[in-house]
Symmetry: C2
Subunit: 297 residues, 2 copies
Amino acid sequence: MIKIGVVGAGSIGLLFAAYMHKLFDVTVYTRSLGQAEQINRNGIRLVKGAGPLTAKVRAEVLGANEMDNDLTIVAVKQYQLDSVIFHLPANGGLLFLQNGMGHLKLLDQLKADDIYVGSVEHGALKEAPDTVSHNGAGLTRVAVFRGDPWLLEKVASLLPGNFPMEIEPDYYEMLAGKLAVNAVINPLTAVLGVRNGELVDNPRYEKVLEKMFEEVARILDFHDKQERLLKVKGICRNTSENRSSMLKDLDAGRPTEVDAILGYLLDKASSKGLAAPLLGAFYEMIKGREWTGRVNR
Amino acid sequence: MIKIGVVGAGSIGLLFAAYMHKLFDVTVYTRSLGQAEQINRNGIRLVKGAGPLTAKVRAEVLGANEMDNDLTIVAVKQYQLDSVIFHLPANGGLLFLQNGMGHLKLLDQLKADDIYVGSVEHGALKEAPDTVSHNGAGLTRVAVFRGDPWLLEKVASLLPGNFPMEIEPDYYEMLAGKLAVNAVINPLTAVLGVRNGELVDNPRYEKVLEKMFEEVARILDFHDKQERLLKVKGICRNTSENRSSMLKDLDAGRPTEVDAILGYLLDKASSKGLAAPLLGAFYEMIKGREWTGRVNR
């Protein structure tokens, strides 16, 4: 049986462990001993439409033992990566599930031969240290960052049909495409306080969307700019009634992912000597709203 | 008695006519015959703290007769100027009270010797064709655009103490200074939905304010940039509890003055070949909110 390690027991880590435990030999690596004990005692409770299931998986504190897995899935937030990266094994494959592209520079420094990156399109909420609710069925897109795809292909072929994994040909395209979408839709909807669809239904907002996309496209060096812009607009239309995660985070007074999204792009712009005035202003406005949210709490 | 003409019977025109009627021989020029008849019949009702007064002034439709005044005060909105300008007399002084600076290019084409511009810092609301409420006491700043200041000085010296007029040495400074303040505080508060003070209390918003001011300062060619920026921030602090006129207009679903403010600056930027990405984006966002307001009505 293929041995899978899952580093990080947040919503995404718990979701992967729960869906993979029947077909793989799964170990979850937690930050706290308490959470590891709780998962070892109760298993992971997976809450979804059809009713809750319990997945009996093994858990241990990250760093307690040497890892020995065929594939290690790294499911921590991007800003937590620094604190887990030196625990990762040099043997076996690694799959990184962080948002944005800020983590790519870290991957170059790793010794593992086979490194993969992924982008998770599931909705999941951690309700307790041993409970995750799967409230938005989607899929996981993955791609080879370095090395051989065989392990990824093997894992993808074994996964259950209600938890699919799609292999994309180009990791940069995959992550850059998602970043461009997030960098435009999230900040604009969050600052304007509107649903995704209004960015294309309102011709004035659409102009601002285009200007922001222009800055993103220059920073990420897109050659198929027009096609990608149409895709961003298509997503606004297809998710027209949705409130973006950044808008929801701000309304709930939670921190947003603006650093992994606009922060990354602004760093990249600055290292390339490119101006990105709109991305800069939206970054500050989102940060300003986060600040207000904290102060008013 | 000095003869004063007031062109335009909106809130500012009615306010000037009402305060000036005792000390000057005032004629109000209206657009509609109905309003002229109503004012001739009832006078102008001036509503303020101490209770309402009635000012008996003469009114007539603009263009019905040749004007023959010592000073003609033009109190229409900037976008109405085109339709009244050919009625203005070539003799006597002219005082223009429009917001922004878009009207200055029109003034060059006039034949009158003495042309003045002013900036009104009163709060006034037209409640009926013959009624104006003076709900924010302030002052009128004026300056010579072309010609001799004697008429302005004479009028200023005769005005009552509760309706003061202050003569500024440099019209460009006066109007550009006010435009810079409006171009930064109005759009930012309107898009962020905050009171004036939050633009300096929130360090992230303050950064965006500085970037916007930077664009304004380059377009208006300010040499004392730092001093003016401090002044803008000082106004945010002094009016910290105020909701800007643009924020109020948007919330009430009314059109804003964004064209006279940001529209003017964007035209000027484009004619000078300067980029103004933030002013452009805020212009579109305000226009977008106006559009939403109209659609939802």
